[in-house]
Protein backbone atom coordinates (compact mmCIF):
# COMPACT_ATOMS: atom_id res chain seq x y z
CA UNK A 1 0.00 0.00 0.00
CA UNK A 2 2.77 2.31 -0.95
CA UNK A 3 0.45 4.93 -2.31
CA UNK A 4 -1.00 5.50 1.13
CA UNK A 5 2.39 6.51 2.45
CA UNK A 6 2.58 8.78 -0.58
CA UNK A 7 -0.78 10.31 0.24
CA UNK A 8 0.11 10.88 3.90
CA UNK A 9 3.30 12.59 2.88
CA UNK A 10 1.44 14.78 0.46
CA UNK A 11 -1.15 15.83 3.00
CA UNK A 12 1.59 16.96 5.28
CA UNK A 13 3.69 18.67 2.67
CA UNK A 14 0.91 20.55 0.94
CA UNK A 15 0.76 22.75 4.00
CA UNK A 16 4.45 23.40 3.68
CA UNK A 17 5.00 24.03 0.00
CA UNK A 18 6.16 27.55 -0.68
CA UNK A 19 6.01 28.11 -4.42
CA UNK A 20 4.18 31.40 -4.34
CA UNK A 21 5.86 33.91 -6.60
CA UNK A 22 3.62 36.80 -7.52
CA UNK A 23 2.89 37.49 -11.17
CA UNK A 24 2.76 41.02 -12.41
CA UNK A 25 -0.27 42.29 -14.26
CA UNK A 26 -0.62 45.66 -15.91
CA UNK A 27 -4.28 46.05 -15.02
CA UNK A 28 -6.59 45.03 -12.21
CA UNK A 29 -9.02 43.43 -14.68
CA UNK A 30 -6.29 41.18 -16.02
CA UNK A 31 -5.32 40.15 -12.51
CA UNK A 32 -8.95 39.41 -11.66
CA UNK A 33 -9.45 37.43 -14.85
CA UNK A 34 -6.31 35.41 -14.20
CA UNK A 35 -7.19 34.76 -10.58
CA UNK A 36 -10.69 33.65 -11.51
CA UNK A 37 -9.36 31.28 -14.15
CA UNK A 38 -6.85 29.81 -11.72
CA UNK A 39 -9.62 29.08 -9.22
CA UNK A 40 -11.33 26.99 -11.89
CA UNK A 41 -8.35 24.67 -12.18
CA UNK A 42 -7.45 21.97 -9.73
CA UNK A 43 -3.92 21.47 -8.47
CA UNK A 44 -2.78 17.91 -9.19
CA UNK A 45 -0.33 17.77 -6.35
CA UNK A 46 -2.34 19.39 -3.59
CA UNK A 47 -5.58 18.07 -4.94
CA UNK A 48 -7.79 19.96 -2.53
CA UNK A 49 -6.64 23.34 -3.70
CA UNK A 50 -7.08 25.31 -6.84
CA UNK A 51 -4.13 26.44 -8.91
CA UNK A 52 -4.66 29.86 -7.37
CA UNK A 53 -4.32 28.69 -3.78
CA UNK A 54 -1.74 25.93 -4.11
CA UNK A 55 1.90 26.52 -3.33
CA UNK A 56 3.09 23.33 -4.95
CA UNK A 57 5.95 23.74 -7.43
CA UNK A 58 3.84 22.28 -10.23
CA UNK A 59 1.09 24.79 -9.47
CA UNK A 60 3.57 27.62 -9.81
CA UNK A 61 4.80 26.16 -13.10
CA UNK A 62 1.27 25.91 -14.44
CA UNK A 63 0.44 29.41 -13.28
CA UNK A 64 3.51 30.71 -15.06
CA UNK A 65 2.51 28.81 -18.18
CA UNK A 66 -1.02 30.20 -18.08
CA UNK A 67 0.37 33.69 -17.46
CA UNK A 68 2.60 33.46 -20.52
CA UNK A 69 -0.28 32.19 -22.62
CA UNK A 70 -2.57 34.97 -21.40
CA UNK A 71 0.06 37.57 -22.10
CA UNK A 72 0.41 36.19 -25.62
CA UNK A 73 -3.30 36.63 -26.17
CA UNK A 74 -4.76 33.23 -25.36
CA UNK A 75 -8.40 33.12 -24.26
CA UNK A 76 -9.62 31.46 -21.08
CA UNK A 77 -10.86 28.54 -23.16
CA UNK A 78 -7.47 28.12 -24.82
CA UNK A 79 -5.75 27.92 -21.47
CA UNK A 80 -8.35 25.51 -20.11
CA UNK A 81 -7.96 23.28 -23.19
CA UNK A 82 -4.20 23.34 -22.77
CA UNK A 83 -4.52 22.04 -19.22
CA UNK A 84 -7.18 19.45 -20.03
CA UNK A 85 -5.20 18.11 -23.01
CA UNK A 86 -2.32 17.30 -20.71
CA UNK A 87 -4.00 16.39 -17.44
CA UNK A 88 -7.47 15.33 -18.39
CA UNK A 89 -10.86 16.39 -17.05
CA UNK A 90 -9.64 15.95 -13.51
CA UNK A 91 -8.08 19.36 -13.65
CA UNK A 92 -11.41 21.11 -14.26
CA UNK A 93 -13.32 22.09 -11.15
CA UNK A 94 -16.41 22.89 -13.20
CA UNK A 95 -17.23 19.63 -14.99
CA UNK A 96 -17.81 19.98 -18.71
CA UNK A 97 -21.38 19.45 -19.83
CA UNK A 98 -21.11 16.07 -21.56
CA UNK A 99 -23.10 12.83 -21.53
CA UNK A 100 -21.08 11.54 -18.60
CA UNK A 101 -22.03 14.64 -16.57
CA UNK A 102 -25.64 15.10 -17.69
CA UNK A 103 -26.85 13.48 -14.48
CA UNK A 104 -24.63 15.76 -12.47
CA UNK A 105 -25.77 19.04 -13.98
CA UNK A 106 -29.40 18.13 -14.51
CA UNK A 107 -29.66 16.10 -11.32
CA UNK A 108 -30.57 18.96 -8.99
CA UNK A 109 -33.28 20.20 -11.30
CA UNK A 110 -34.58 16.68 -11.80
CA UNK A 111 -34.62 16.09 -8.06
CA UNK A 112 -36.46 19.34 -7.52
CA UNK A 113 -39.10 18.43 -10.09
CA UNK A 114 -39.57 14.93 -8.71
CA UNK A 115 -39.82 16.22 -5.14
CA UNK A 116 -42.24 18.92 -6.23
CA UNK A 117 -44.36 16.38 -8.08
CA UNK A 118 -44.49 14.08 -5.07
CA UNK A 119 -45.38 16.94 -2.75
CA UNK A 120 -48.01 18.26 -5.18
CA UNK A 121 -49.68 14.89 -5.46
CA UNK A 122 -49.63 14.47 -1.71
CA UNK A 123 -51.00 17.95 -1.06
CA UNK A 124 -53.67 17.65 -3.74
CA UNK A 125 -54.99 14.45 -2.19
CA UNK A 126 -55.56 16.18 1.10
CA UNK A 127 -58.76 17.84 2.02
CA UNK A 128 -59.00 20.31 4.74
CA UNK A 129 -60.72 18.59 7.63
CA UNK A 130 -63.81 20.32 8.78
CA UNK A 131 -63.57 21.48 12.32
CA UNK A 132 -66.14 19.53 14.25
CA UNK A 133 -67.53 20.52 17.59
CA UNK A 134 -67.78 17.56 19.90
CA UNK A 135 -70.95 17.14 21.90
CA UNK A 136 -70.47 16.72 25.61
CA UNK A 137 -71.23 13.00 25.44
CA UNK A 138 -68.81 12.51 22.59
CA UNK A 139 -66.17 14.50 24.43
CA UNK A 140 -66.47 12.32 27.53
CA UNK A 141 -66.40 9.22 25.38
CA UNK A 142 -63.22 10.45 23.70
CA UNK A 143 -61.56 11.01 27.05
CA UNK A 144 -62.43 7.54 28.25
CA UNK A 145 -61.01 6.07 25.08
CA UNK A 146 -57.79 8.00 25.48
CA UNK A 147 -57.34 6.97 29.07
CA UNK A 148 -58.30 3.35 28.69
CA UNK A 149 -57.14 1.91 25.42
CA UNK A 150 -54.49 2.50 22.81
CA UNK A 151 -56.09 3.78 19.58
CA UNK A 152 -56.77 1.22 16.92
CA UNK A 153 -54.20 1.31 14.17
CA UNK A 154 -55.44 1.72 10.63
CA UNK A 155 -53.69 -0.23 7.95
CA UNK A 156 -53.25 1.49 4.62
CA UNK A 157 -52.59 -0.12 1.31
CA UNK A 158 -50.25 1.90 -0.87
Amino acid sequence: MRWIWFAVLLTFTCATFGADSPLVFNSAEKETRFTKLMTELRCLVCQNQSLEDSNAPLAQDLRNQAYTMMRDGASDDDIMDYMVDRYGDFVRYRPAFRPVTFLLWLGPLLLLLIAAAVAWRWLGAQQVAEAVELSEADDARARRLLDGKAPRKEKHRK
Binding site: W3, D61, Q65, V84, R86, Y87, K158
Partner: protein
Protein backbone atom coordinates in the same frame (compact mmCIF):
# COMPACT_ATOMS: atom_id res chain seq x y z
CA UNK B 1 -42.65 -1.60 -6.25
CA UNK B 2 -43.71 -0.34 -2.85
CA UNK B 3 -42.72 3.21 -1.98
CA UNK B 4 -41.58 2.23 1.49
CA UNK B 5 -38.68 0.26 0.07
CA UNK B 6 -37.30 3.19 -1.90
CA UNK B 7 -35.03 4.51 0.89
CA UNK B 8 -33.60 1.05 1.43
CA UNK B 9 -32.97 0.54 -2.28
CA UNK B 10 -31.26 3.90 -2.64
CA UNK B 11 -29.17 3.16 0.43
CA UNK B 12 -28.11 -0.21 -0.97
CA UNK B 13 -26.97 1.46 -4.17
CA UNK B 14 -25.01 3.99 -2.16
CA UNK B 15 -23.30 1.28 -0.12
CA UNK B 16 -22.39 -0.61 -3.26
CA UNK B 17 -20.79 2.50 -4.68
CA UNK B 18 -18.82 3.12 -1.48
CA UNK B 19 -17.69 -0.49 -1.36
CA UNK B 20 -16.29 -0.20 -4.87
CA UNK B 21 -14.75 3.09 -3.83
CA UNK B 22 -12.72 1.34 -1.18
CA UNK B 23 -10.88 -0.52 -3.92
CA UNK B 24 -10.05 2.59 -5.90
CA UNK B 25 -7.36 5.19 -5.40
CA UNK B 26 -8.78 8.70 -5.54
CA UNK B 27 -5.41 10.40 -5.90
CA UNK B 28 -4.29 8.78 -9.12
CA UNK B 29 -4.97 10.91 -12.16
CA UNK B 30 -5.20 8.89 -15.38
CA UNK B 31 -3.42 10.28 -18.37
CA UNK B 32 -5.42 11.68 -21.27
CA UNK B 33 -2.45 10.93 -23.52
CA UNK B 34 -2.92 7.17 -23.63
CA UNK B 35 -3.13 6.01 -27.25
CA UNK B 36 -2.16 9.49 -28.38
CA UNK B 37 1.16 10.57 -29.87
CA UNK B 38 3.80 11.42 -27.32
CA UNK B 39 4.54 15.14 -27.25
CA UNK B 40 7.39 16.20 -29.48
CA UNK B 41 10.37 17.47 -27.58
CA UNK B 42 14.06 18.10 -27.93
CA UNK B 43 16.21 18.60 -24.85
CA UNK B 44 19.90 18.65 -23.99
CA UNK B 45 21.31 15.42 -22.62
CA UNK B 46 22.21 15.13 -18.97
CA UNK B 47 25.67 13.72 -19.63
CA UNK B 48 26.44 15.75 -22.73
CA UNK B 49 25.28 19.35 -22.76
CA UNK B 50 26.13 19.75 -26.43
CA UNK B 51 24.08 16.78 -27.62
CA UNK B 52 20.33 16.67 -27.94
CA UNK B 53 17.78 13.94 -27.20
CA UNK B 54 14.18 14.08 -28.32
CA UNK B 55 11.11 12.23 -29.48
CA UNK B 56 12.76 11.73 -32.89
CA UNK B 57 15.59 9.64 -31.45
CA UNK B 58 13.15 7.48 -29.50
CA UNK B 59 11.10 6.52 -32.56
CA UNK B 60 11.28 3.23 -34.34
CA UNK B 61 11.31 1.03 -31.27
CA UNK B 62 9.30 0.33 -28.17
CA UNK B 63 10.77 2.33 -25.28
CA UNK B 64 10.18 3.15 -21.65
CA UNK B 65 10.43 6.77 -20.62
CA UNK B 66 11.09 7.16 -16.92
CA UNK B 67 10.61 10.54 -15.27
CA UNK B 68 13.08 10.88 -12.39
CA UNK B 69 14.99 13.41 -10.32
CA UNK B 70 17.89 13.39 -7.88
CA UNK B 71 15.71 15.07 -5.24
CA UNK B 72 13.04 12.40 -5.54
CA UNK B 73 13.12 9.90 -2.68
CA UNK B 74 10.71 7.37 -4.23
CA UNK B 75 12.88 7.17 -7.33
CA UNK B 76 15.48 5.34 -5.31
CA UNK B 77 12.86 2.70 -4.51
CA UNK B 78 12.33 1.78 -8.13
CA UNK B 79 15.78 2.42 -9.51
CA UNK B 80 17.13 -1.08 -9.16
CA UNK B 81 14.24 -2.38 -11.25
CA UNK B 82 15.41 -0.21 -14.11
CA UNK B 83 19.03 -1.18 -13.63
CA UNK B 84 18.03 -4.84 -13.83
CA UNK B 85 15.92 -4.12 -16.89
CA UNK B 86 18.75 -2.28 -18.60
CA UNK B 87 21.09 -5.19 -17.96
CA UNK B 88 18.63 -7.59 -19.53
CA UNK B 89 18.45 -5.32 -22.54
CA UNK B 90 14.87 -6.28 -23.31
CA UNK B 91 13.65 -2.74 -23.74
CA UNK B 92 15.56 0.54 -23.89
CA UNK B 93 14.86 2.92 -21.04
CA UNK B 94 15.14 6.65 -21.58
CA UNK B 95 15.22 9.09 -18.71
CA UNK B 96 13.48 12.44 -18.36
CA UNK B 97 15.33 14.26 -15.65
CA UNK B 98 12.64 16.55 -14.24
CA UNK B 99 13.37 19.96 -12.70
CA UNK B 100 16.84 19.00 -11.64
CA UNK B 101 20.36 20.34 -11.82
CA UNK B 102 22.82 18.75 -14.18
CA UNK B 103 25.53 18.18 -11.53
CA UNK B 104 23.06 16.62 -9.09
CA UNK B 105 21.64 14.36 -11.78
CA UNK B 106 25.05 13.15 -12.93
CA UNK B 107 26.16 12.48 -9.37
CA UNK B 108 22.95 10.61 -8.56
CA UNK B 109 23.35 8.32 -11.56
CA UNK B 110 26.97 7.69 -10.68
CA UNK B 111 25.94 6.66 -7.18
CA UNK B 112 22.84 4.59 -7.96
CA UNK B 113 23.70 3.35 -11.45
CA UNK B 114 22.65 4.56 -14.87
CA UNK B 115 20.12 2.34 -16.63
CA UNK B 116 19.14 4.94 -19.16
CA UNK B 117 20.17 4.90 -22.80
CA UNK B 118 20.12 8.68 -22.54
CA UNK B 119 18.62 11.04 -19.97
CA UNK B 120 17.08 14.29 -21.14
CA UNK B 121 17.50 17.33 -18.92
CA UNK B 122 14.12 19.02 -18.45
CA UNK B 123 15.34 21.78 -16.17
CA UNK B 124 12.23 23.95 -16.09
CA UNK B 125 9.72 21.10 -16.31
CA UNK B 126 8.07 22.29 -19.53
CA UNK B 127 8.37 18.97 -21.28
CA UNK B 128 7.08 17.31 -18.14
CA UNK B 129 3.96 19.46 -18.34
CA UNK B 130 3.48 18.43 -21.95
CA UNK B 131 3.62 14.80 -20.83
CA UNK B 132 1.15 15.51 -18.03
CA UNK B 133 3.68 14.77 -15.33
CA UNK B 134 2.42 15.76 -11.89
CA UNK B 135 4.62 13.73 -9.61
CA UNK B 136 7.90 11.91 -9.67
CA UNK B 137 8.54 9.12 -10.57
CA UNK B 138 6.32 8.33 -13.52
CA UNK B 139 6.97 5.89 -16.35
CA UNK B 140 5.59 5.84 -19.88
CA UNK B 141 5.48 2.96 -22.33
CA UNK B 142 5.82 4.35 -25.86
CA UNK B 143 5.54 2.21 -28.97
CA UNK B 144 7.51 2.34 -32.18
CA UNK B 145 5.28 4.95 -33.76
CA UNK B 146 5.68 7.27 -30.83
CA UNK B 147 2.22 6.59 -29.36
CA UNK B 148 1.95 6.49 -25.58
CA UNK B 149 0.40 3.19 -24.60
CA UNK B 150 0.66 3.16 -20.83
CA UNK B 151 1.53 5.46 -17.94
CA UNK B 152 2.52 4.28 -14.50
CA UNK B 153 2.35 6.70 -11.61
CA UNK B 154 4.66 6.26 -8.67
CA UNK B 155 7.59 3.91 -8.21
CA UNK B 156 7.62 0.70 -10.23
CA UNK B 157 7.89 -2.56 -8.37
CA UNK B 158 8.61 -6.05 -9.55
CA UNK B 159 4.96 -7.03 -9.74
CA UNK B 160 3.92 -4.10 -11.91
CA UNK B 161 6.92 -4.65 -14.14
CA UNK B 162 6.22 -8.32 -14.51
CA UNK B 163 2.44 -8.24 -14.73
CA UNK B 164 1.67 -5.03 -16.58
CA UNK B 165 4.62 -3.34 -18.25
CA UNK B 166 6.71 -6.13 -19.73
CA UNK B 167 3.76 -8.04 -21.18
CA UNK B 168 2.63 -4.83 -22.84
CA UNK B 169 6.12 -4.18 -24.15
CA UNK B 170 6.28 -7.65 -25.63
CA UNK B 171 2.87 -7.29 -27.18
CA UNK B 172 3.79 -3.97 -28.75
CA UNK B 173 7.03 -5.39 -30.07
CA UNK B 174 5.12 -8.32 -31.52
CA UNK B 175 2.80 -6.02 -33.40
CA UNK B 176 5.65 -4.53 -35.36
CA UNK B 177 6.56 -7.83 -37.04
Amino acid sequence: MRKRFFPLIIFTGLVGLLAIGLTLNPRVVPSPLIDKPAPLFSLPQVHNAAAVIGSEQMKGKVVLLNVWASWCVSCRLEHEQFVKLATSGEVPVYGLNYKDRREDAVRWLEFYGNPYVVSALDADGRVGIDFGVYGVPETFVIDGEGIIRYKHIGPIDETTLGKKIMPLVRELKGRRL
